[in-house]
């Protein structure tokens, strides 16, 4: 088939195809591809053009261009009528997505991640301790000898006389310091257990994050600064905090940090016991007895530690009023939490 015949043939097939093109973009695109696409019919003409005698090249070149313009302008017309018509895509977009679930991240994870990222920014690295531990790591090494009244503060699950489910993440401090020399700047999140009846407010397990910083010349003033920074990042820069003396056997001085929650509703009165202040975390300067347990020289080093309960923070932040919801796995509950 000669080139001119070929050109003629393409023109006639196009004209017939064109008539059947409906007013929608899809068809238009198909026709466009058939003729003007990279593998379209028009492109099959160029190799033929190469074989044409030199003096006729411009004549055929023009014919090919004319045809190309003809096809393009016709399709353009069609395109514009399609665009102007209202039903460009005949789909009811209000139909639901075909997803079954978008997925969710548990509120406990969300809180842990947020706290981790706040402290990561100021150089705290994450480490992890075991859930099952010994009396030594959980109590003795933290200056809570047997028969110390402070043991009443934490009801413990035992595996045997010496082995127990950790009651706090503070034992991670001991594990870490035993295996590492200062400087230490760590966070340790994890699951802890208390032998307490399950109720709206308490569960037999919960999660904590422990923080520890040990170096030369660490001061109480730095402890305050660090935790105020955390409160500002977590609760917003307008947050009001206060520190008040407390007691933990493994820190001296010990403190608790409260944030001002306000007294705007009945539930504010309930959760703040009418004071407007809400206890957020416990902290203090590492007690020299703890340093003795891990063979750090307390004349040379000082440090601070803090610990906070994740569930409590999650419940405050999201307004969850029953701790059991966190462990039930109700899809209607979970699907609301996303990063």
């Amino acid at each position: 088939m000669s080139l001119s015949e070929k050109i003629q043939e393409i023109k006639s097939t196009f004209d017939s195809d064109y008539k059947s093109v409906k007013n929608n973009q899809l068809d238009n695109q198909l026709v466009y591809n058939k003729y003007l696409g990279r593998k379209g019919l028009m492109n099959t003409l160029y190799p033929l053009l190469a074989k044409v005698e030199v003096n006729k090249k411009s004549e055929f070149g023009k014919k090919i261009n004319d045809l190309k313009n003809h096809i393009a302008s016709k399709l353009d017309d069609k395109q514009s009528t399609t665009k102007s018509s209202k039903n460009k895509l005949k789909v009811d977009l209000s139909l639901p997505e075909s997803y079954n679930s978008f997925g969710s991240i548990h509120p406990i994870t969300l809180i842990i991640d947020e706290i981790k990222s706040i402290f990561n920014r100021i150089g705290f690295s994450s480490v992890y301790g075991p859930e099952i531990d010994t009396d030594y790591y959980n109590f003795e090494a933290l200056n809570i000898p047997k028969h110390h009244p402070a043991r009443d503060m934490q009801d413990t699950f035992y595996i045997n006389d010496q082995v127990l489910l950790r009651t706090h993440t503070s034992g991670s401090q001991v594990h870490f310091m035993k295996n590492n020399e200062p400087p230490v700047r760590i966070l340790s999140p994890g699951r802890v257990y208390r032998n307490e009846d399950i109720s709206v407010r308490s569960y037999c397990l919960f999660h904590q994050i422990e923080g520890l910083y040990v170096d030369k010349n660490v001061t109480f003033s730095e402890l305050k600064g660090t935790l105020e920074y955390f409160a500002k990042e977590f609760f917003g820069s307008n947050v009001k905090t206060r520190f008040r003396p407390s007691y933990f056997p493994f820190t001296e001085p010990s403190a608790e940090m409260d944030v001002y929650w306000g007294l705007n509703s009945e539930s504010d009165y309930r959760i703040t016991k009418g004071t407007g202040w809400l206890e957020i975390l416990g902290c203090g300067m590492v007690d020299p007895e703890v340093f003795k347990s891990v063979e750090y020289d307390s004349d040379k080093y000082s440090g601070f530690a803090f610990g906070l309960g994740i569930e409590r923070i999650a419940m405050l932040k999201y307004g969850i009023d029953d701790i059991r919801l966190l462990y039930e796995g109700d899809f209607k509950f979970l699907e609301q939490f996303k990063k």
Partner: protein, 791 residues
């Protein structure tokens, strides 16, 4: 612990409001809140019963005429057994309020009653409700009862005392803290009283076996006491802090304990056998019947007070029944002592008597206060029992003890706290704490008051300085500095990444209770760890698999009409391992759970099967950066319909299981359930070593060829792929399965598999003939190795 503000006023007065005090105490580390106790309604007055006759229509009621010093007497109907003529009684007039109800004019069996005669309990002055309260004859009729009895309104502070502050378990202790707040000294009276010519040594001799068990033991003999109802002031004081009244002796001992923090014990002297008292360890299996009628078998950890016949009290914990003070008692032996904290704690724990007394002994007693306490008791007793005779001397056995000395360095304190306190500020803080000191160039030698058992080291004084100076007054240092040497890699980074991958792909994260019952531990065949003291049988074991937790959640949701769910949990499992220091091999696990085998939507129902799950797992590993993950059918256990191992780099790292009906019945699930467990510790080993390697992309065109082959059913896709790959290694870029076809026309044991092969060279454009050769080679090999024929 409850503290009455009126009571506190006897030591130190403060102008601050209650809520200011709450703030001040909280800032000192004594958390508390308060509530108010109202005085009596002013419409409650003193009345005199001038006439008392039987109610004509009721056997038990009496009609009384009561004089309240107004124009006419009131007619009041009263049912109390002790109402009679010529007694003074409290009258609640019409319109007055008793707790929450209002007294109104009421008709009782045809006669109007114009008020009520009240019992002690109704007035909140005590526990007695057996009859009406009979008042002292010297009160003035018609006057307000509140002013006649000096009943004032009061504020009760409820303190949450931390275990280190044993010294704060009394009004005196709280007053000392208030003196820091107010910068005032507290008033501490001296108590003098008449003594009789009684030498206690004629009556009793005390021996202490071991001064470590009992550092100090004092006692005094008081003869001729009258055991009776407590005087009103005493009842009122105890009622204000929530304590019941028993009798004047018991109440007074209690009062002194709440007042001064020293528990006292009183013995009926005449019930003691012989005149020797011994403070010693109990003998093994020695018995005592206690005040609460329990018979206890003692051990050598217990400290007892014993007479000739055996123990008469468990020291510091509970008294013996035999020697207790009763209404018949006339001579008492008053004990004021200090016992070893740890022994008391062990004993009170063991017998579960965490009573007010043992709580104080456990936290440490003021050694110096023992005699003062006994004196105050005696003095107050004498004001109630005027005929009582007091021994001229007392027994006081003690080990010599001097106040603790602690060295304190001002600059060390400042560098520890980050403060810049001058030595004068430190001095005034020590003064307010009653810490005596001598100083030499900012270096102090401090003598600690005997009641502060918690202060032992220099750092404890730093804490006191910070506390009194005020935590909030210490400036916060926000210039963070840290050494790069403290930075370490997060070992659980993979978990964060997995959560993102899974939650972005429609999985919901779950946290489950990790305490299981025995049945739930059988989903894994690894040895679960059992708790010695579980909350209940349902939570007796620590989880050895995450699947039961997920199954419970799926069951919960299926009951709430969920049809298809994808759940996951990342957490620890613990498996018994006696070689480990904590008896446990703890592993981090990712567990997936799928509920349902189809996804329904308006656009139709799509099946959800094993290959979707395979897709999820490959997706997870692909996103972690692993290219190749393989699967192997495993032998089933009695929990599942099928079980598949997941293999990464030749290592078995997890399993996929379809839960069978028996297990589903247990969890009450009816839809199909597939679970998948992946050992993250194993994956982490490979994850750590992962490196991304880059292959140059090829710009030469590729050639695709499709082949269709008939192969026996026993031949797997992997077998075919292996043969194809081995047949053509150089230019074969990719092989994709595009079709599996099973036709009745085929031989029974054969299936048709269609593959698309992509050929490409990194160096040049391939010729069709080259590819033809490769395809022939592939087909030949498939035929010889797998008996696969081309269709």
């Amino acid at each position: 612990m409850k503290i009455s503000r009126n009571w506190l006023n006897s030591y130190i007065e403060s102008d601050r409001t209650n809520s200011e005090l709450v703030d001040c105490f909280t800032q000192l580390g004594l958390e508390c809140n308060y509530h108010l106790i109202n005085s009596l309604d002013s419409n409650i007055v003193v009345g005199k019963v001038v006439e008392c006759v039987k109610h004509p229509d009721a056997d038990r009621l009496k009609v009384c005429q009561v004089d309240i010093s107004s124009e006419s007497n009131l007619t009041i109907i009263c049912g109390a057994p002790n109402v009679k003529e010529n007694i003074l009684v409290p009258i609640a007039k019409i319109g007055s309020h008793i707790s929450d109800f209002e007294i109104k004019k009421t008709k009782i069996r045809g006669i109007y009653s114009y008020g009520m005669i009240c019992s002690e309990k109704e007035l909140g002055l005590g526990e007695n409700h057996d009859g009406i309260m009979i008042l002292d004859n010297n009160l003035e009729v018609g006057q307000k009862l509140a002013s006649e009895l000096e009943i004032k309104e009061d504020s009760i502070f409820d303190f949450d005392i931390t275990p280190n502050r044993g010294d704060c378990f009394s009004h005196l202790g709280i007053a000392r803290e208030l003196s820091i707040i107010e910068n005032l000294k507290i008033k501490k009276e001296k108590f003098d009283f008449k003594k009789n010519e009684l030498d206690i040594l004629d009556y009793v001799d005390v021996t202490i076996d071991d001064y470590d068990l009992c550092p100090r033991y004092a006692c005094r003999l008081i003869k001729n006491v009258e055991v009776k109802e407590s005087p009103l002031w005493l009842k009122k004081s105890l009622a204000a802090i929530g304590q019941k009244s028993v009798n004047n002796i018991v109440d007074l001992a209690n009062y002194i304990m709440f007042d001064l923090g020293q528990p006292l014990h009183t013995f009926d002297y005449d019930k003691l056998n012989g005149n020797k008292i011994e403070v010693r360890r109990a003998y093994e299996n020695e018995k005592i019947i206690c005040l609460n009628n329990d018979e206890n078998k003692l051990t050598s950890d217990d400290i007892v007070i014993a007479d000739n016949s055996g123990p008469v009290a468990i020291a510091g914990v509970i008294g013996g029944l035999e020697s207790q003070v009763t209404s018949k008692t006339t001579n008492i032996l008053l004990e004021s002592a200090v016992f070893n904290e740890i022994n008391i704690r062990k004993t009170s724990k063991k017998y579960d008597y965490a009573k007010e007394a043992s709580k104080r002994f456990e936290r440490g007693i003021d050694y110096e206060n023992v005699i003062y306490v006994m004196d105050k008791f005696t003095y107050l007793l004498l004001s109630d029992c005027k005929k009582a005779e007091i021994s001229s001397n007392y027994i006081d056995k003690c080990k010599n003890k001097s106040n603790k000395l602690i060295e304190f360095d001002v600059s060390k304190c400042n560098s520890f706290l980050g403060t810049s306190l001058g030595s004068n500020e430190i001095k005034s803080i020590f003064n307010s704490l009653d810490i005596k000191f001598s100083d030499k160039k900012n270096h102090f030698k401090c003598s600690i008051p005997s009641y502060r058992n918690d202060l032992e080291r220099e750092v404890d004084l730093f804490e006191e300085v910070a506390r009194v100076f005020g935590y909030d007054s210490i400036e916060s240092n926000m210039n963070f500095k840290f050494s790069i040497n403290s930075l370490i890699r997060d070992e659980n980074l993979i978990e964060d990444k997995l959560r993102t991958i899974l939650s972005n792909n429609g999985f919901n994260e779950h946290y489950s209770n990790s305490l299981y019952n025995k049945k739930e531990t059988t989903l894994s065949n690894e040895n679960a760890i059992r708790l010695m003291n579980p909350l209940s049988r349902d939570m007796e074991y620590l989880r050895n698999s995450l699947s039961p937790g997920i199954l419970k959640a799926l069951s919960f949701n299926e009951k709430r009409e969920s049809e298809f769910l994808k759940y996951y949990e990342i957490g620890s499992i613990n498996v018994y391992d006696k070689k480990k220091y904590n008896l446990s091999n703890e592993r981090r696990i990712l567990s997936l759970g799928y509920l349902g085998d189809k996804i329904k939507s308006w656009s139709g129902t799509k099946p959800f099967n094993l290959f979707n799950i395979k897709g999820d797992i490959s997706m997870i590993f692909h996103n972690l950066g692993f290219n190749k993950i393989s699967y192997k059918v495993d032998t089933i256990d009695n929990n599942c319909n099928f079980k598949i191992s997941i293999i990464l780099n030749g290592q078995n790292i997890g399993e996929i299981k379809e839960i069978n009906d028996t297990v589903k019945n247990y969890y009450d699930i009816s839809s199909s359930v597939i679970v998948c467990n992946i050992d993250l510790d194993e994956v982490n080993v490979f994850y750590d070593k992962l490196k991304i390697s880059y292959n140059k992309t090829i710009s030469y065109p590729s050639i695709n060829r499709d082949i269709a082959i008939l192969v026996p059913h026993s031949i797997t896709h992997d077998d075919i792929i292996n043969v194809i790959r081995k047949s053509s290694t150089k230019i074969l870029r990719d092989v994709k399965l595009f079709d599996i076809y099973d036709d009745k026309n085929f031989d029974k044991n054969t299936k048709s598999m269609g593959y698309s092969l992509k050929f490409q060279s990194p160096e040049r454009t391939l010729k069709s003939s080259e590819v033809d050769k490769e395809i022939k080679l592939v087909l030949d090999n498939l035929l010889t190795k797998l008996n696969a024929k081309q269709r």
